[in-house]
Subunit: 167 residues, 2 copies
């Protein structure tokens, strides 16, 4: 179901509100069938994109207010939030060049123009400012080895804090 919804989201034109409802429907199903059961078993979950992406794309990119998106976020996963979110930040021109270098057919989002991606990036950074404890910004313009080092440092810090909280 998630794959079929994602497919619709990537190809069908639709209103921003509809896009937001579908994104959160995909997330609802993902939390209920994958993330929730894994957490219940004590498994660590690493997720490529979560609700911050909706605040960036449907919020910044499509113009929906953060307060409206917050209603859906609350409806779908309540107080469940990631312990740590890594935001890989890079200038949009550089990001688009990277995407173009390995994308054959761009989807409905990848076809957007520069102002859309600037707004998405700005909304991501704004979201990071509003949750500095959870969201760590990683400078993704750096060489891969340096990006990896920063990721390791952030994860290590989380584990240390977790260990300290357990003692």
């Amino acid at each position: 179901l998630g794959e079929k919804l994602r497919e619709l989201l990537l190809v069908e034109p639709m209103r921003p509100e509809t896009e937001a409802l579908l994104m959160f429907a995909v997330r609802q199903e993902h939390v209920a069938t994958v993330i929730g059961p894994a957490l219940a078993q004590g498994v660590w979950v690493v997720c490529d994109r979560f609700s911050d992406a909706s605040f960036a794309y449907q919020g910044g990119g499509r113009g929906l207010l953060p307060e409206r998106l917050g209603v859906l976020e609350q409806w779908v996963h309540g107080d469940l939030q990631p312990d740590l979110t890594l935001l890989f930040d890079v200038a949009t021109a550089q990001a688009r060049a990277r995407v173009a270098s390995h994308t054959v057919v761009p989807d409905r989002f990848e076809q957007e123009r520069a102002p859309f991606f600037e707004a998405v990036r700005a909304a991501y950074l704004e979201r990071a400012r509003s949750a500095p404890q959870r969201i760590r910004i990683v400078d993704a313009a750096q060489p891969l080895s340096e990006v990896a080092r920063q990721v390791q440092a952030a994860v290590w810090q989380l584990l240390q804090a977790d260990a300290a909280a357990s003692n």
Copy 2:
């Protein structure tokens, strides 16, 4: 898009919450692209099922709380409500016999069992009790001519009230 989402809703197994989000996504798109523009032109809109159906099926049938569904209803169409809703009520056994008489392949909802439809009917009637001015219950066990007469009377009453309000 609406048709594709409806298709998924009718065949794919999913969580009640996901079902509710998809139902309201369909409704969002329908209000934005069909109902809203028609109303803006002064056209009268007659709609076969609206949000009351979500309170009946995803609420009564699937067990989601009316308060949770009310959040999505508010999110999607705010204060836009029908001027008049006709609820064609009939005992579930009789309704199912009618459906069976002209349905070849039952969809995911039609495949449900009797308690599901009893709960759907109860939720519809509860919803009618909570909005007696808007929702008129029509006894659909009666002969078609009598059902038609009751519909005409309800619509006539709405037009009279509308005319009185305009004067």
